[in-house]
């Protein structure tokens, strides 16, 4: 397995586009009956040169890593057709293959690219999907992710989330000095970029819903404060630096407001900041700890963690009237809520004593379904399609990231090459 990973990495280091994965994503458990699919080598218009990117390899890796597909190894393919008419259906049927992806990459006269692909049902000899996508050289990887999304949705009925990004924080220790870094990377671990680096802790990255900004907590001023950073320019503004705690930023669905935890009035309470006027509205009034606010998808409520009952539990407050109700009742410890995109579930950190797990709270039944084994799992975040939860887990090698499908059938490990990695936040769909 280790050798395979190495090989996999070398393959990606060789092409002229120097893209590589900072996070190695490995599938550790998949569904019992994965969908058989083959991805043929894409045709390439300039056969005398090497293609700038291996589209079929990116698509293959995406589908395989999703845990829902059994993707045929490239060397086992009986042929590599790039046109519908060239598909030898008889050969594929003999191999029991059900679906094939074929495509072409074309360099246009203007130096841009045309990517075309077809998803073909081998038994019915029919095209399930087919698109031609004109694009720029720097967006080819993204196109491969978009194609993966289309294939995934056509065959599973679930919206794909390959064309998305993930934010996370790493900590490296050099002698006694620690470096805290906030990164973003494509959902396949490639294309990693550093957004902030600091000798002081960084915490709680939160994506704006348009995917253009990230809010986070930084301790660089010897106290917590909240920044909003523009992802493409790197420009940032410090939006909250009151005395006491400034933390837990979370964007309203329309990105006009930020929910925050502040202790400026003497106790940790939840506030909403209007990002245009910077005015604050206090939401909670309670002697206990109130923190970790998260906007409901409809924008009308905030879920949060409070220990007002004696132990941390999840509550929900209507923004309009400030009325709070308790949502979690099972277990001594429930914290760090995140709504599913459809608003029907909350993923959270759950403990019954001893170890900490990622769990799903069903908002209809009130039941809690434990997803992970622990012992120290935290910071869960839904993929924008709601099918997977990414989270941080602490093991022998320190902090690592992992993901699990909401039905618990698919498990992935996202390994970093060195240092601790924590606080994953899955970003919205890229436009």
């Amino acid at each position: 397995m280790k050798n395979f990973t190495k090989l996999f990495l070398i393959c990606f280091l060789l092409p002229p586009f120097k893209s590589y994965a900072v996070l190695d994503i490995k599938i550790t458990e998949g569904v019992e009956e994965p969908i058989p699919i083959a991805v043929a080598m894409f045709g390439w218009s300039q056969s005398s040169n090497v293609a700038p990117i291996d589209m079929s390899e990116i698509i293959t890796n995406n589908l395989a890593r999703s845990g829902r597909f059994n993707v045929m190894d490239a060397e086992d393919l009986p042929q590599n057709p790039s046109e519908f008419d060239a598909i030898n259906f008889g050969d594929w049927r003999k191999l029991g293959m059900e679906n094939i992806v074929i495509g072409n990459l074309t360099l246009t006269d203007s130096g841009a690219y045309d990517v075309s692909f077809r998803l073909v049902d081998i038994y019915r000899k029919k095209q399930i999907a087919g698109f031609r996508i004109p694009t720029k050289p720097n967006l080819l990887r993204r196109v491969a992710h978009q194609i993966s999304d289309i294939i995934f949705e056509k065959l599973t009925g679930i919206e794909g989330a390959f064309n998305t990004r993930v934010a996370y924080i790493t900590v490296k220790k050099n002698n006694k000095k620690k470096t805290h870094t906030l990164h973003i990377a494509d959902a396949d671990g490639y294309n990693a970029k550093v957004l902030v680096e600091s000798p002081e802790p960084l915490l709680s990255p939160s994506w704006s819903n348009d995917g253009k900004k990230i809010a986070y907590v930084s301790f660089e001023g010897k106290n917590s404060s909240v920044f909003i950073q523009d992802i493409s320019t790197g420009k940032r503004t410090q939006v909250s630096k009151f005395s006491g705690i400034n933390s837990s930023p979370n964007w309203s669905p329309d990105d006009s407001h930020l929910a925050l935890t502040l202790s400026k009035d003497g106790n940790t309470e939840i506030y909403i900041m209007n990002l245009l006027t910077k005015s604050l509205k206090r939401i909670t009034q309670n002697n206990g700890i109130d923190t970790e606010p998260i906007w409901s998808p409809d924008g009308k409520k905030l879920a949060f963690t409070s220990d007002r009952s004696g132990s941390p539990q999840i509550y929900e407050v209507a923004i309009k009237n400030g009325k709070a109700k308790r949502l979690s009742f099972e277990g001594a410890y429930n914290a760090r809520p995140r709504y599913s995109p459809d608003g029907k579930f909350i993923t959270l950190v759950h403990s019954t004593g001893g170890s900490y797990h990622i769990a799903l709270l069903n908002l209809t039944s009130g039941y809690i379904n434990v997803l992970t084994d622990g012992p120290l799992d935290e910071s869960p975040s839904f993929a924008p399609n709601g099918s997977m939860v990414i989270y941080a887990t602490t093991g022998r090698r320190g902090g690592q990231l992992a993901a699990i499908s909401v039905d618990g059938r698919i498990k992935q490990r996202l390994g970093l090459h060195q240092g601790d990695v924590r606080e994953p936040a899955w970003g919205p769909f890229l436009k």
């Binding site: 680096e197 802790p201 106290n223 917590s224 420009k235 941390p312 120290l376």
Partner: protein, 176 residues
């Protein structure tokens, strides 16, 4: 492995460009750690000594290792901000010192262990610091002499993942 590392490093350097300047702007002020002895902290193992200044001003109680003031860390139980009676004399001594030295101020830095959610632990760290502050106020310190900071689980005293590390991390540090 080294190739991978090289790429990681080189890309990190390449990509740092825009954000680094901004981080620089807010470069934090170094806090001097009063508990460490600067004269003996040479990294290569060689010890250096200063000739003691015997003509200096009267030495402060804070530097006396026999004084209860030399205890600068208060440890807590899991998910608790209750100050154990073991620390009664420590808090009393610091409160008295602050009362007698009204121009002196102190930072109470609250911390937690790594278990559970980070933001909740941040709030818990502050609650611990606040508990110490409240006792200090009752025992004679003035509110404007005390500033609270919580780091939650972000600045562990020990990096381990077991109870002995966690015990060292659930703490309030008293920083003069």
């Amino acid at each position: 492995m080294s190739t991978r590392l090289f790429f990681v490093i080189s890309l990190t350097i390449l990509l740092l460009g825009c954000s680094k300047d901004q981080v620089k702007e807010d470069e934090p002020v170094e806090v001097t750690d009063l508990t460490a002895d600067p004269a003996s902290s040479s990294e290569d193992g060689a010890q250096t000594y200063g000739a003691e200044d015997d003509s200096g001003p009267a030495f402060s109680q804070l530097d006396d290792p026999q004084s209860p003031l030399s205890v600068r860390t208060i440890y807590f139980e899991y998910d608790s901000s209750e100050i154990s009676s073991d620390y009664r004399s420590t808090v009393e001594a610091h409160s008295l010192y602050l009362q007698q030295n009204p121009s002196t101020s102190v930072i109470l830095e609250g911390h937690g262990d790594e278990r559970g959610s980070r933001e909740y632990n941040l709030a818990l760290g502050e609650r611990r610091a606040k508990a110490v502050k409240q006792q200090m106020l009752l025992l004679g310190a003035n509110s404007n002499q005390i500033r609270l900071v919580s780091y939650g689980e972000e600045r562990p005293a020990s990096d381990g993942h077991d109870e002995s590390s966690w015990q060292q991390n659930r703490r309030v540090e008293i920083l003069y």
